[in-house]
């Protein structure tokens, strides 16, 4: 399959993520959008990896083809850890101010 399709898909997901972060005020939705952006990049990484795996260079070195795919797993593990921290923060925020609206938390101002 043509690599362009993957690039367009990733770009779309990433843009949706950005717009979501920009326009939504609910912390959980923003958080989900951030995850969306992260996974868009992840998807792109896998796609490029697959593209290189069928090239000539990869055939000479067997490990080359799987490098990026293993890297993706690392990213997913880190993302999972990040999600747990992020959700914990949001839970604490809700406990303290009884809302998950990010604009409510602008106490550094003034």
């Amino acid at each position: 399959m043509d690599i362009k399709a993957y690039i367009v898909l990733s770009l779309t997901l990433f843009t949706i993520g950005i717009i979501g972060v920009l326009v939504r005020r609910n912390a959980i939705v923003i958080f989900m959008c951030v995850e969306l952006m992260l996974n868009a990049v992840n998807l792109l990484l896998v796609a490029f990896s697959k593209m290189h795996a069928i090239s000539n260079t990869a055939k000479l070195s067997p490990t080359f083809a799987s490098d990026a795919q293993i890297f993706v797993f690392f990213i997913m593990v880190v993302a999972a850890a990040e999600v747990s921290v992020g959700l914990a923060i949001i839970v604490m925020m809700y406990r303290n101010v009884h809302t998950v609206d990010v604009n409510f938390l602008n106490r550094l101002k003034n």
């Binding site: 972060v21 920009l22 005020r25 990010v102 604009n103 938390l105 602008n106 550094l108 101002k109």
Partner: protein
């Protein structure tokens, strides 16, 4: 017996120690103790100087190297002391007269607070230290350190009573005028370094390095050095600080502004005689300036009514005589006169201090008179000083002044007659001072008359010693015409090469008789004019010009001080407050305004920040893609 020369470093160090003790302990030391410390260190230096003098007299001289003061690649300045005939003689004058004046000060300053009293002695010790450094230095830089040090101490001591604004102004005037001269001296040193590459006396005066200098170089260097000397030794055009310097305590005037510091310029030129002898133009300049100063100052002294001002102008005039001698190449005579002048002028200053002490601070001779009855020792010693300065045969001033005059006579007869005239003026105003102050009847208030008393022993004994020195001090230089051998000239021969003057003994004898005769007439005239002194109305015509010191101070005020003040005022009011302050404040205001405008960016809304971040990223993205 070389070990005495090994101890030479103690001579300047002891007064420095005295300065440190008195300076740091000024709040805890008792007045007696600080007076004793201050005097004792100078006495110890005097004893050492005496031993050193004996050693040098027996023919040993030394250049003592201690450490390298300055090292700049090839150019090195060592911290050296040079002990030879010239410096050992000055050591004796400085520590000897210095010690007497320290002792005198313990009585004269007794009414000061303990703290101020110790401060006074600390400054005085520091002065002695700097002056010793000046004459002992083995190169021009060490000399210059002492040169600046004495200038500083002079400033500190003139402004000793700093609560009086006039006095601090006088101190500032002295300092600024000295600095003008010092700049000349400093430039001369730079010139020497550039051409010869060393400041060491022995090396500079060696024929090898003199050969490196063209006649233009030598003339330039010596003229600049002379500028330095005019500042320190109060010659035209930089002399006006010295009369004002009388604001300081009287013993200070005696030590710094009569006996020692003001002779630094003469010492420097005598030390550099190898250079000056090669620069005829400079010698002419020195002769003319010296003679002009001698005449101008003597004429002013005639009409002054402040006892210390008369002595101050007399000092300026006598310094002029010394420069006249230097200019005619008669270095020995100049040094001789430095020595005798140190004795009789210190004597007269201390005598005037004794008078001021008795009068309760009054310095105006119009309010004195008839003091001989009340203070016999002061009166008699002062009289001896007058005889010495006037050049009455047998007193020290006669020998030194006569030597200068005969040197000038062999040089130029016109200069001689002018110098002789200045000498006659000297006798005239000195006896005017004596007659008005000590004879006749008392013209002050009744309270003052009641208060009159002879000064304590600590003041009279230095007077007596100085009076004896003023009489016998001249016998070290009895000329051959009077059957002497001029021991001083013989002693100084290794260091100072005076120009030969060829006068037969008969001519010299005639000159002596003529000058003595004229001086006696001058004294007689003075006596006739002032024996029935009454307070006179303000002088008119020429007398008024003299009374106002030829308006030199006013001319300086008009030509130099005022324009400088105007420039300073312009810089202060316009440049400083408008341009510089405007620029600085404007910058501050601009930043303040800018920050206020930028503040809305920091809204505290996370969304806004993210939006800006995305916009920034997009811009970078497009730059990367399309540019």
């Amino acid at each position: 017996m070389n070990n005495i020369l090994q101890l030479v470093w103690l001579i300047p160090l002891l007064p420095l120690v005295g300065f440190v003790i008195n300076g740091l302990g000024r709040k805890s030391l008792s007045k007696n103790l600080s007076g004793i410390i201050g005097s004792a260190v100078v006495l110890a230096s005097f004893v050492l100087s005496m031993l050193v003098f004996m050693q040098v007299k027996s023919g040993t001289t030394a250049s003592l190297h201690y450490f390298n003061f300055l090292e700049l690649s090839k150019f090195k300045v060592a911290f050296d002391f040079k002990i030879d005939q010239l410096s050992s003689l000055f050591l004796l004058i400085i520590t000897g007269v210095g010690f007497l004046i320290h002792v005198y000060s313990t009585a004269y300053m007794h009414y000061e607070d303990g703290k101020d009293f110790a401060k006074y002695f600390a400054y005085l010790n520091l002065f002695v230290f700097s002056m010793l450094l000046l004459v002992m230095g083995g190169n021009y830089l060490i000399m210059f350190i002492g040169w600046e040090g004495v200038g500083l101490c002079s400033y500190l001591l003139i402004g000793y009573w700093f609560r009086n604004t006039d006095y601090t102004d006088a101190a500032k005037k002295a300092f600024v005028m000295n600095r003008i001269g010092d700049l000349g001296f400093l430039l001369a040193l730079f010139w020497l370094i550039a051409k010869v590459g060393t400041l060491q006396f022995d090396e500079v005066f060696s024929s090898a390095s003199l050969a490196k200098l063209s006649i233009k170089d030598i003339t330039g260097i010596t003229l600049l050095m002379f500028v330095g000397a005019t500042g320190k030794s109060a010659q035209i055009p930089l002399y006006t600080w010295l009369p004002d310097a009388m604001a300081g305590p009287t013993p200070v005037s005696a030590l710094i502004h009569a006996a020692t510091m003001v002779t630094a310029g003469i010492y420097m030129i005598a030390r550099s005689n190898a250079l000056f002898s090669l620069a005829p133009l400079t010698q002419t300049v020195i002769t003319v300036i010296g003679l002009a100063t001698a005449l101008l100052a003597a004429s002013i002294a005639i009409k002054q009514n402040d006892i210390k001002k008369v002595l101050a102008y007399s000092t300026v005039s006598q310094l002029g005589f010394m420069f006249l001698a230097l200019g005619t190449g008669n270095y020995v005579a100049a040094i001789f006169h430095v020595m005798t002048h140190a004795f009789f002028k210190a004597l007269m200053f201390l005598g005037s201090g004794s008078v001021i002490h008795a009068m309760g601070g009054e310095q105006d001779i119009r309010k004195m008179g008839g003091l001989h009855k009340h203070m016999k020792i002061t009166s008699i010693t002062f009289f001896i000083g007058c005889l010495a300065i006037s050049g009455i045969p047998g007193f020290s001033g006669f020998f030194s002044k006569d030597e200068i005059l005969s040197g000038v006579f062999s040089h130029n007869v016109v200069l001689y007659s002018l110098a002789l005239f200045a000498a006659l003026l000297t006798a005239f105003y000195m006896f005017r001072l004596y007659i008005v102050t000590f004879t006749g009847s008392f013209r002050g208030t009744h309270d003052q008359e009641h208060h009159l008393h002879e000064s304590p022993k600590a003041m009279t004994i230095p007077l007596i010693i100085l009076a004896v020195l003023s009489i016998v001090g001249g016998y070290v230089g009895v000329p051959e015409a009077l059957g002497g051998h001029h021991e001083l000239a013989l002693y100084l021969t290794p260091v100072v090469k005076s120009a030969e003057h060829h006068l037969t003994h008969g001519t010299e004898y005639t000159l002596m008789v003529v000058s003595t005769f004229l001086v006696l007439i001058s004294i007689l005239f003075s006596w006739l004019k002032f024996r029935n002194y009454k307070i006179e109305a303000d002088a008119k015509g020429f007398g008024k010009i003299l009374q106002n010191k030829w308006y030199v101070d006013d001319i300086y005020q008009l030509l130099i001080v005022r324009p400088l003040q105007n420039v300073a005022g312009f810089l202060n009011k316009i440049v400083e407050s408008k341009i510089i302050d405007g620029a600085v404040n404007g910058l501050g205001k601009l930043i303040n305004y800018g920050s206020r405008q930028m503040r809305w960016l920091q809204s505290g809304q996370v969304g806004a920040y993210v939006l800006l971040m995305v916009i920034g990223m997009l811009i970078l993205f497009f730059i990367q893609l399309f540019l």
